[in-house]
Symmetry: D2
């Protein structure tokens, strides 16, 4: 693991996610750019001292020198955005599979470069867009793909949070500090942090690609350096349209991610707050409440559920599904077999490039006087 030392939020999430199914063992880490912190974190996590490194370079080179059977196989990179590209590049170039936190890089240019590096490598790559790991999000995608809803016409996604309603970065909140800092986050704040999640969810479930957008991007809290709020009109290739809302100043909201998609014959709704449920709506018959863990859900939802219906699974399980599917894909590779499509269904480089393109385009649109901005990659 690279990053994720003491005080980090997402590092711990990655570790829980990796541990849940017993498919990973944490054996090495460079947990902080501060070697002291890295060492202390490694000790807390019970690692052998010689495999706690002071930097990602040391880690990658150090592990590379170990016998193949005793070296790290997968590197999880959970640093702030500006520290994604370099370790991911080095890892891929040295033959380590990579799990990388989103957004993929600091800039679109980096993303495209990483794409080429990944393609040139023999390594697998996973980008942790958590929400597409939820079983009922997968059910939603499978439902749309089945054509039962007819051609998709409308898609709405919203991700309201309230935690940046005040000037948190002025205090001791480390999460707020780096996420609102252009030097560490990139050109976008809310749009990069949660807007990319919403965007990814939308494209994943609909199977469509955004072709044009029109954004209202705001920095609401005085003194803040990056956007903390935005709303975006969307047009998709093929004619559908929609709206994306992502805001961090919706005071009192937690992580109220919600998706709705409507086709000619019906629609669907999913909310993180009730993650094990997918509402399926029809023109002329009752709304269905589809539930994770039941016998009637599709193969993707079933593959990504651990417990029978009525035992709620949550965010960590969704995250763990990414890790699990990545591991199953690697195991299949090692065994020389083909992983089932359900296991291969995790976000990767292509999603990362589109996410970075979203950031670039949405910020550009926010600054434009023109209504529609082409979505270019």
């Amino acid at each position: 693991m690279i990053g994720g030392g003491q005080g980090a939020f997402i590092g711990a999430v990655h570790r829980h996610a990796a541990a849940l199914d017993g498919l990973y063992e944490l054996v090495a880490g460079a947990f902080s750019s501060n070697p002291e912190t890295s060492r202390a974190s490694g000790q807390l996590l019970g690692l052998a001292p010689e495999r706690v490194y002071g930097s990602f370079e040391e880690l990658i080179h150090g592990e590379k020198q170990r016998p193949e059977a005793e070296r790290v196989q997968v590197l999880s990179i959970v640093t702030p955005n500006h520290l994604h590209f370099a370790p991911a590049k080095l890892a891929l170039e040295n033959g380590f599979h990579v799990i990388l936190d989103k957004p993929m890089t600091f800039s679109l240019a980096e993303a495209k470069e990483l794409e080429q590096i990944a393609e040139a490598s023999n390594c697998r790559f996973c980008l942790t867009h958590t929400y597409t790991g939820y079983p009922m999000v997968k059910e939603a995608r499978q439902l749309v793909a089945s054509g039962e809803l007819g051609t998709i016409r409308k898609a709405y996604v919203e991700y309201p949070q309230g935690w940046l309603s005040t000037f948190e970065e002025g205090g001791s909140n480390k999460q707020a500090a780096w996420r609102t800092d252009p030097a560490r986050s990139g050109v976008a704040g809310a749009m990069g942090d949660i807007g990319t999640h919403a965007f990814n969810l939308l494209e994943y479930v609909t199977g469509l690609q955004v072709s044009q957008l029109c954004a209202d991007i705001n920095t609401v809290v005085p003194g803040r350096q990056l956007d903390d709020d935005g709303a975006v009109l969307l047009r998709f290739s093929g004619g559908a349209s929609g709206v994306l809302v992502a805001t961090q100043v919706a005071a009192g909201e937690e992580n109220n991610l919600r998706l709705r998609v409507y086709g000619e014959k019906g629609g669907l709704e999913w909310q993180q707050v009730d993650a094990n449920t997918l509402q399926v709506k029809w023109l002329d018959r009752p709304t269905e409440i589809r539930r994770a863990g039941t016998g009637y859900v599709g193969s993707y939802a079933r593959h990504n559920t651990r417990t029978p219906a009525g035992h709620p699974e949550g965010y960590l399980e969704a995250f763990a599904n990414l890790y699990r599917n990545f591991a199953l894909s690697l195991q299949a590779d090692l065994a020389g077999t083909a992983a089932p499509p359900e296991a291969l269904d995790y976000p990767s480089i292509a999603e990362g490039v589109r996410g970075m393109a979203f950031i670039k385009n949405v910020i550009a649109s926010g600054r434009s006087e023109q209504k529609w901005t082409e979505f270019t990659v």
Copy 2:
């Protein structure tokens, strides 16, 4: 009553709303432009045949000739949009108080003319924006006005329906026929029919006025003549911003009106599907579930509720609140007293003019290549 004959939807709603509190008696009507239909409708409603008229002109002139104590006092006009202005004008000019269905007129020009006529008259005027009649919508407005949420930053409203997902106007659906017909509805379809409701709700609760907008207006169903779908980025005087969504092609949705408003210190959420509840969210303490009929709600909610908490009130009661407040205001006028502010709180001419301006501006923005369109009246 003018309009609202057999087969009409909103006429029956008006009659229920007027009847509920026993403050109105239906005594005369011109229920249809077809005198036969008008007569038949009047008979079904048990009216004296001599007070069932063949046209609104006949009704107004006929009633005017009756002794003052025996004449209609209030005229409810429930015709399609293109037949709002003429009867409303004639009614006001002849001293009848008017309750008019929304949107106020066929065009903004008519609306502004009607405003002048109303001001010149001694008559009261009510525009039936139903949703502001809900007690917990009034609670929301009172909460915002109290300043407890701090300065408002974000406001979102959405009104998804699914009933026009197919080409309903091609069949025998009279509601669909006139609502999608430019000759009867005006320049807007969905935006006029439900967009104006959403817009009114937003301005009512926030107490803010939209100053700029950027609209994506679509006609999704092939063959349809007016918009059936739209999404609008909004900017308000004073700096807040938001989003308005109104669509009639969200397959499987009923009348899923939902409002969310966020200030510096907290937010609120209201949904028609759970109309007796107002969620109030805070930065650092639990969300409150405020309920109609309780002892702790404000004076506006209390005034507009008939039953104790736990006995749900619905759409007809909200509608009836408009009628009741209008009647209470008139009774106060007759008594020479001042009606309490809670009774005077019903939508009127000013809201109607803004609604028509919304239609004009939102359609103009939909056609514009420019991002922001000024909201002009």
Copy 3:
């Protein structure tokens, strides 16, 4: 109307319910045992002074003397329980149709006597068990009757309220005063006030009859004279079983009536707080959310709904359905036609007798050391 003067709760509800559909006109009343209060109430309601009476006897005799076309047709009796029997008896004996508030009488003996009187008369009789007037409760009954759920095995009903959590009757709360007073309420408090509603709902929806019960009846608040809480194990003829809970000391609850019924193949759930929804659950497919006002609901739900789906109807509309169906049945009688079964579906004498038997049996069971008490009438 008999009873329902100033300060009464249910009288106003009856008036709203009667008014909503324009099928009744309030023309006479004896609103209070205090002639002054009766007169003042009548004046407020705009009645002709000569038809505001000082007692129910005066009203019935006075109206009887009027020409048939000018006399009251239906008498609504909305007094406390101890004043149900006498006016109902006199009304029926004098040929007035009766709408009576529940529970039907003060004692089971009175109920059985009233049953005979009603049968001997040519009058219709309606007992206002409001909750069976909700459209989705009717849908539930029709669903069970259709056999789609299979043989019913379990039925649960609960009616928690919190308003009597403190010694309300010690203050100025008139509602609390008479409802907790054995001289006015009868042998039961909570069981009579809300237990009978729950019981009626259960038998109505399941179509089954309770045959045995085992009750735990409590008076929780010190100083109270009647039960304010109870839970009852139920057995039905035919083998189903269930639980009934009715309490007025569930602090913080409003009128949280909830019903669940399970058969061999599926189940249903209905809650007053979301009254326009019926959840239908199945062994092996998604739960259905059936909604009032849609095209797919059965004939009973459809007949009892005034607005399209998505326009919530509430408690007053449910109450009004009783009044409306009663009026439609009377109109059919007058026209010499047969009312449709949907109109004839309102609670009447038989339900009233069973309700009074429930009170007798449940209180007896509460006092018994024996587990099961036979349900006798």
Copy 4:
């Protein structure tokens, strides 16, 4: 681990729960009474072959012979009920800490014997009553204990499932087979399987003990050997009363566990389907929606949550909280320090004895003609 081989449900749950926080390592197992199955399961789990045993006796004796630093520290026993006592006894007598699935034993006599064995040992003991591991259940307990709700008056718990609505044990469903078999489950079916969970939840949150009960126990599905349904009236020491419902024939229900508790001043409601929320209701102010992961929850909820508000945690996390707290308690023991009270809060022997007493008493009451059965241990 003892039990939990291929095809078992709860064994996998235990493994996920143990893995989540990285505090346990699975090193040895006797996964089945069939040595072949045990071996195969151990291999799948990646265990060293020499530590996969053919029976629990072999495991305990085998591990005991290993050097202390290399031996199993904690034994998880996840066998059917009739195989709880013997391995737990042997484990405790040989100095292994024990985590045992519920209900604790096959009979109350065994439970009381195990209690003595545990007390005589130096070992810690955890009984996996999952539901008390949910953070908002802990918040509920802390709220009641704080006295804010006043003296508790009413407590209701219900656990409806539908999965045994048909004669599942007639087919290949292993779960159904042993859970409905008196030789493996004991004297109770539903009451032992889920009734004990409901009972434990009730006593845990209220801090009260059941003193009397009156049960209606049914076997609904023809051919079944044990109860699959029951409802129980409860009286608690100190005067509160309540109802417990547990059924496995509520067709269409998943694991719809729900708890409500009411005191003099307010009440609370928690449901597994919305596990991260605790509703707190008050006599005279809005219901509060308390949410896991927020800053305002109490120390117990906070200690048992891994992610910030809005990232739902579920059943596996609740289960993992038992494992985690057990591990933290053991770590404190090893370090010679006192674990914080939040870590010590996991169900243990005392809860197990009460659970077995519940089974005995509830079945006895079900067979009794007498209304109230004393709750004896």
